[in-house]
């Protein structure tokens, strides 16, 4: 185990003979292109004969469509097609999003465009396709849709009440999924506790707000019967499979291309009704159709996430020992479970993750996932982790307060010790190797905890209310097929990399995991360069094209580095071995006596340069006549990797937040944030730090600002960028990041995921800091986002 801060070099064992890039922070290859404005996002692509689609979306939460009069709209300039649900249903099958391993889960069939009735404000109902986007929007004003308001099931709290309308009568009720977990002995543990602290946590419904909205171009070529979709998406092979199946065409007839993606965060890993509608329209027209969501429709058609209402309690002894957690979680997911990952995963994760860092032996949880007439929810960065972490860490702080123990101390006493692994958590999750103790120790040093406490106390004397909040967390990364595959979803858990040695000595690497800004392609470049033994400048990484790359799962559940990176490492090593075989034949030497060093073949013993790789390329590709008849160079290799040792490879970390609360206004100033993170081997410290920082700010967004506000009729009140608040530069703190490295043994690379842990821990850390500041004023807040109004209400001042 070693500790690195920022750009300190990796101190783990070297993976390759000449490690120049893994563990360091070289320049990201795509950055130079993006700062010059030379990216290529979907909306930048223009195809010949391309048309543009806009959607008429339900203006209310629940309505019956009684008539669609498109006569006038069709006569508007440039309009080429107006289509409704029944027309599209003739070529696109409906879907029902459930998973086999979520026992008893149910949902209803969903279509590309609503048929007969619309079930949420924002559900697409009618498509208008025109030569230009402006013409399509102009025509929309002349589309006449008549509808009757239907009673809506708006609030998740009343979704299961007998007098609430059942959204899908064929399902019998509004219950999508329910789960109970009981480790046993919970009542006894609470009975023997010195203190039991109970509270209710609420998490606001919010959404991802990718700066580039969801968008795609569908291009159906009728002559070839082939579909190409340019998509801003995280999982191109998943979409290829879904398009093939829903439209009953061969998988090989579908090509999905993902170029630059302007932020994804889980928003772009789902299959949306308008995705299928756009493809269907292209098939009907035989022309390319572009769909780019405008920001207003993004707010009601992108998935939402995280609205949970949780009653929870903790049992603790006076000596600080945590005996048990118990929680009852209710979450509302909209009228349909989202395709194909389902909307029950988030709640399921909360059940699995509550109490995760700790060694208590008793845990009971109940989960109800209910339907309602609001925008569907699904997996958004962190997926259940921010909820579970806030429940856990909120309760731990309350327990510490009840027994008058320092929040750092109670965590040090209760975390699963670093020498206890491998082991299982009480919810049943399996841990390979975590480092809670090392992370807490590192955090204490990083933030100078004692000095900060002294500063806080001194300022409190002067009437300044500052608070320190700590949040330990676990995060599941590198998933096996246990996540989706076992449940019947055709979402690959494995990924592949093809490494090709090019005639000029360069390496081209085709990888099934793509890039959405994390720097995925950069780390693959680093890994391939070190694995083969060439300069990074000699490596070209290609991703995001189902017709070109190996088959794989793509970007989700923090798997790009750990799974895609391992495939690249294995492919690079195999290619290196094959290059050496060719070199051995050319040089008439034994391959074992040769090595590749910085673009040259060398003698492994003397380190003398024997020949440059360009010469190997020249002979292998252009002078095969000089090679023995029984020898053929194999200078392209493919390797795959799936993590199979554990259901998930868990990571851990701890964050701290320092805030100042103004009791007169309820405003919170975020002064500083710290994170100590253990994602195993750090491939690129700068990129990991930036993943952590960005994710922390997204977590802070949900904790402090972001919420999809609805009225009692199920209409979203703030569905625009001005009223829906996201973090801005001035409001956010500086964030210090440090690392502990506990590599996973499930791969040679040893990397775990780092993309979501920041979001997992930030809300809990900020909540605990605010409540630490409010404690002398006998106030506490547990409902996110922590608006000034909620803080003033807690203080009894409004």
């Amino acid at each position: 185990m070693s500790i690195t801060i920022d750009k300190a070099p990796a101190k783990l064992h070297d993976l390759t003979q000449d490690p120049r890039y893994i563990g360091h922070s070289p320049e990201r290859p795509s950055a130079r292109r993006l700062v010059q404005g030379q990216g290529c996002y979907v909306d930048d692509i223009e195809l010949p004969r391309m048309t543009h689609v806009v959607f008429w979306r339900s203006p209310v939460a629940h309505c019956r469509i009684t008539g669609i009069n498109a006569e006038f709209a069709k006569r508007m300039p440039g309009v080429v097609l107006v289509a409704d649900g029944p027309m599209l249903a003739k070529i696109c099958k409906p879907w029902v999003a459930t998973l086999g391993h979520l026992a008893g889960m149910k949902s209803a069939p969903q279509y590309p465009l609503a048929i007969e009735r619309a079930c949420w404000q924002g559900e697409p109902v009618v498509a208008i396709v025109a030569e230009t986007r402006a013409q399509a929007e102009d025509a929309m004003a002349y589309l006449q849709v008549s509808w009757e308001l239907l009673p809506a099931a708006v609030d998740m709290e009343t979704a299961l009440h007998p007098d609430t309308p059942v959204i899908h009568p064929e399902l019998g009720d509004n219950l999508c999924f329910t789960r109970s977990l009981d480790s046993g002995g919970v009542d006894e543990a609470f009975a023997r506790a010195d203190h039991v602290v109970s509270t209710t946590f609420e998490f606001g419904r919010h959404t991802g707000v990718t700066l580039e909205p969801r968008c795609q171009i569908a291009d159906w070529r009728s002559a070839e019967q082939r579909l190409t979709v340019y998509h801003s998406q995280q999982a191109p092979h998943m979409m290829q499979d879904l398009y093939a199946r829903q439209f009953s065409i061969a998988e090989s007839a579908v090509r999905v291309i993902c170029k630059d993606v302007g932020g994804s965060f889980g928003i772009k890993v789902h299959a949306y009704p308008d995705d299928f509608a756009t493809v269907a329209l292209s098939m009907m027209l035989g022309r390319p159709v572009k769909f780019v969501a405008d920001r207003l429709e993004s707010f009601t058609s992108d998935i939402h996430a995280r609205h949970h209402l949780v009653k929870a309690r903790i049992a603790v002894r006076n000596d600080g020992e945590i005996l048990a957690f118990e929680m009852d979680d209710l979450t509302g997911i909209g009228p349909f479970s989202m395709f194909p990952r389902t909307s029950a995963i988030e709640g399921n994760q909360v059940v699995n993750l509550v109490g995760g860092p700790y060694k208590h032996q008793h845990y009971r949880a109940k989960l109800d996932v209910v339907f309602q007439n609001k925008t569907p929810t699904c997996q958004y960065r962190g997926v259940g982790h921010p909820v579970a972490c806030a429940i856990t860490e909120g309760l731990v702080d309350m327990a510490a307060r009840a027994i008058n123990m320092d929040p750092m101390e109670i965590r040090l006493r209760n975390v699963i010790p670093d020498d206890a692994y491998p082991c299982s958590g009480i919810s049943g999750v399996k841990f390979e190797g975590l480092s809670h103790q090392a992370c807490l120790a590192k955090l204490e040093e990083l933030m100078d905890y004692k000095a900060l406490r002294a500063e806080q106390a001194a300022l409190r004397e002067k009437g300044i209310y500052r608070g320190i909040g700590i949040a330990a967390l676990i995060e599941l990364t590198n998933p096996s097929a246990a996540f989706y595959g076992v449940g019947g979803a055709r979402i690959a858990s494995q990924d592949g990399a093809t490494a090709r040695f090019d005639p000029n000595g360069g390496i081209t690497v085709l990888v099934s995991v793509g890039e959405q800004g994390q720097g995925t392609e950069a780390i693959y470049t680093q890994i391939a360069a070190d694995a083969v033994g060439v300069d990074m400048a000699q490596v070209r990484v290609v991703t995001g094209d189902t017709e070109v790359t190996p088959y794989g799962g793509g970007t989700w559940a923090s798997r790009g580095a750990g799974i895609g990176g391992e495939a690249v490492l294995l492919a690079g090593e195999a290619l290196r071995a094959n290059i050496l075989k060719v070199a051995a034949v050319i040089l008439k030497r034994d391959a074992q006596d040769l090595d590749i060093h910085r673009g040259d073949v060398i003698d492994i013993a003397s380190r003398d340069v024997l020949t440059p790789l360009t010469e190997i390329g020249r002979v292998a590709y252009f002078r095969s006549d000089t090679l023995p008849n029984d020898f053929t160079p194999e200078l392209q290799v493919t390797r795959h990797y799936a993590q199979r040792d554990f259901p998930f490879i868990f990571t851990n970390g701890v964050q701290a937040s320092y805030v100042e609360v103004d009791p007169d206004t309820g405003f919170v100033k975020l002064l500083k944030h710290w994170a100590v993170e253990d994602c195993g081997r750090v491939i690129n410290p700068q990129l990991v730090n930036e993943q952590i920082r960005g994710a922390i700010v997204q977590g802070i967004g949900g904790a402090m600002l972001e919420e999809c506000l609805y009225d009692s009729q199920g209409l979203m009140l703030n569905a625009n960028m001005a009223d829906y608040l996201v973090p801005m530069c001035a409001e956010m703190p500086d964030i210090e990041v440090a690392h502990i490295e506990t590599p996973t043994k499930s791969s040679k690379l040893g990397a775990k995921g780092a993309g979501e842990a920041g979001t997992a821990g930030a809300p809990a850390a900020v909540m605990n800091a605010i409540n630490d500041a409010l404690h002398p004023l006998n106030a506490q807040v547990t409902s996110q986002p922590f608006t000034p109004e909620k803080i003033l209400t807690a203080l009894g001042r409004v």
Binding site: R28, L211, E212, G262, Q516, N720, M721, A730
Partner: protein, 162 residues
């Protein structure tokens, strides 16, 4: 449909004469008429700043400015930034600090940052955060962007001192 208006403007130093509908926004004209796809549309209602471009030396929202308002003006987009040493320094600093992830906000960020270093050369870190708050980034959490801008401010101080 209203009559087309003919406008003449400089974009990144080149003269363009375009016939545009009066309702056409500047950013749509740059993207769709001139093929300058570097300015992005993030919200189309003036909040996110992804469409920020420079008109006669000031950063403006390309989605709130009509193309006809740029008639006779000097327009600068991200595609033309590398012509200027201060903008090149920002681009290099953004790369060095990884002050961009998906890159969608980056053109607007660079334009906003360039206006900052020109108008507030003595800005503190806090003032940089305040100034850059007109541009949303969902990826970075802003820390690296602030680092990148502050480093260019510091470099320029060193250069002027020398």
């Amino acid at each position: 449909m209203a009559e087309l208006q003919t406008i003449r403007l400089h974009v990144n130093g080149h003269v363009h004469t375009c016939s545009v509908p009066p309702r056409l926004h500047l950013v749509d004209m740059l993207r769709d008429e001139l093929g300058l796809k570097g300015s992005h549309l993030g919200c189309e209602h003036g909040v996110c700043g992804a469409c920020t471009v420079e008109v006669d030396g000031r950063a403006v929202r390309g989605c709130l400015t009509l193309a006809v308002q740029a008639d006779g003006k000097q327009v600068r987009t991200v595609e033309g930034l590398a012509d200027f040493p201060d903008a090149r320094a920002l681009q290099e600093s953004f790369i060095k600090h990884n002050a961009l992830q998906c890159g969608f906000c980056t053109p607007g960020m660079l334009l906003a940052a360039r206006e900052l270093i020109q108008h507030k050369p003595d800005a503190t870190r806090e003032e940089v955060r305040e100034w850059m708050s007109g541009n949303y980034c969902r990826c970075t959490g802003y820390h690296a962007i602030v680092d990148a801008v502050c480093e260019v401010l510091a470099q320029r101080h060193q250069e002027s001192a020398a």
